[in-house]
Symmetry: C2
Subunit: 328 residues, 2 copies
């Protein structure tokens, strides 16, 4: 199958992923500046902060201040992440974020236990209450997410059939509670996917759920991020999470400093070059990536910010200017 979409929709997670993992001394104003710059690139969905325990995640202690400082942009959804009701209420309280309810299941019992200290049965049981809490606040629940859908460092490989089963159960829970999911996210949380596995899992989930869209949350910890994204595109996937400059990282890698989410501008370049619309101004996004690198004060893994875009080269060549492309 080769079913490339005409356009893709990117959820930019760089600010949240990146500033969460950094040591915590990044000025709030810098975070706001990056988010404001990202909002001018054409990205329509920017996850800005997470509302988590500041004692555990010092880099997010200023979540409310960051959100307060963002300049609203018509048509751009700024969102936040939370892991429990307390975080949800903090996000709601900002009165400034686009609120979306999300159901989450784990394809790895071991990772669920480790991450949330819950059994899968407890996780299932918690979803209706979560839905009620969203409904009470008037927040729609449209997305379901499967964590570790391709494998887990603490449990091993995950079967496609099991992911299909979880997605079915999640949709049933939503329906039983008066909601209808229209986007299913598959998370390669610990970078166990490979392109053929992406094709298999996406193919089976899609076959069983032809009425919902699929999104991919891919990590580049083992270098396969964009190859996996391409495999997803071939299977018609049009929704991707990504992080500008590759901000973020992976706490589960062999060594610290490993890559996290796939890099937004690298994904945008790949799509643009294949004729798939992204709605994003790549040059403006590259500027954001360079800004992100300055803010965190260490090299970030994205490649296009260093390699340069091809569109820029084509424009220079069209002007008869073939020289300015050598290393500056």
């Amino acid at each position: 199958m080769n079913d490339l979409p005409k356009r893709i929709f990117i959820k930019e997670e760089g600010p949240r992923e990146g500033f969460q993992i950094e040591s915590g001394d990044i000025p709030t104003a810098d975070k706001i500046a990056l988010i404001d710059a990202l909002a001018k690139t054409g990205l329509k969905h920017i996850q800005t902060v997470s509302f988590v325990n500041p004692a555990r995640v010092p880099g997010m202690a200023d979540a409310e201040a960051v959100v307060a400082g963002i300049t609203p942009v018509e048509g751009v959804h700024f969102t936040g992440l939370w892991l429990n009701n307390q975080g949800f209420l903090r996000a709601l309280e900002t009165k400034k974020l686009h609120m979306e309810g999300k159901l989450t299941l784990y394809a790895s019992r071991a990772f669920l236990k480790r991450n949330q200290n819950r059994t899968l049965e407890q996780q299932f049981a918690a979803q209706p209450e979560l839905i009620k809490s969203y409904q009470h606040a008037g927040v729609p629940v449209r997305t379901g997410f499967v964590t570790a859908a391709f494998g887990c460092n603490f449990q091993g490989d995950v079967d496609a059939a099991y992911v299909v089963e979880l997605v079915g159960q999640m949709r049933a829970i939503a329906r039983d509670n008066g909601e209808d999911l229209d986007l299913i996210g598959l998370g390669d949380t610990m970078a166990w996917a490979n392109p053929e596995k992406i094709r298999r899992v996406v193919g089976e989930v899609r076959a069983a759920n032809p009425d919902v869209a699929i999104s991919l949350h891919l990590h580049d910890t083992r270098g396969l991020g964009l190859a996996n994204a391409y495999a997803g595109l071939q299977m018609g996937v049009a929704h991707f999470d990504a992080a500008v400059a590759g901000l973020g990282g992976c706490p589960f890698a062999r060594h610290s400093g490993a890559a996290g989410n796939i890099c937004t501008e690298d994904l945008v370049l790949m799509c643009e070059e294949m004729g798939i619309e992204t709605g994003v101004d790549l040059e403006a996004l590259i500027d954001c990536a360079l800004m992100a690198e300055k803010i965190v004060r260490h090299p970030l893994p994205g490649k296009v910010k260093t390699g340069g875009s091809l569109r820029a080269l084509r424009e220079k060549l069209a002007l008869g200017d073939a020289t300015p492309v050598v290393a500056e």
Copy 2:
């Protein structure tokens, strides 16, 4: 088409690519140690040095000393690179390298002019003489290579039809001079390829040349290296050049420090995970990548050396040991 090969053949170019671009103060003994370690990983073809002008490429001034120091390994071909007859004779003189003749054409006139100060007609005209020189030395000519086959920073996009034409001309030159090419290399020298373009160009070259194998020399300057490799695998490509740890770089990128060749261990992991044999011991190769990083004394772009292999995780999990995978 999805025509994944059962196994691939890797030409390891890390030592030559890497030490060529480094500043030149790497001890000869370190280069030899890396090459000797690579030769024990299962890699069967290792390009070790280039025989070029030491005034222009100081990092390769010790080419003869490096080759002299390598420990021969049964079944492993150590090769060298040269750009002219003088370099070829130096390589021959070592009496230790596996000698292969190669014809090279450029899909970009602008790059050929810049790189070799030649017109395409001059480049064509030079090939028969080159073949005679190889024949005189008893060196077989089996490979043809197209530089900048997917696009060029100095000229722009390259049509698939033009690459097919060049390949046809190159094969004709070889035949007219008593040789028969059996491997056609396509070089994405300046990282203009994308996965769909790989499928198109490889597809057309393959359709016109069903009797030869195709190899891909891919650069990761814009982050698409492994996605492009996957697209090549889908088209049945079984020969890849790669560099351990992503050693090397790109002198034509927007900024210095850009990535060069695709990373060998990342390619090996991708193939292994998809059930494609590489003949390489990934854990031993990761050790080489970490060694390479120590030798050059700066971070190298390969991801698996930091992210860790999945096979190692599976083995630990099989032993009931789920803990040692968190950041060391």
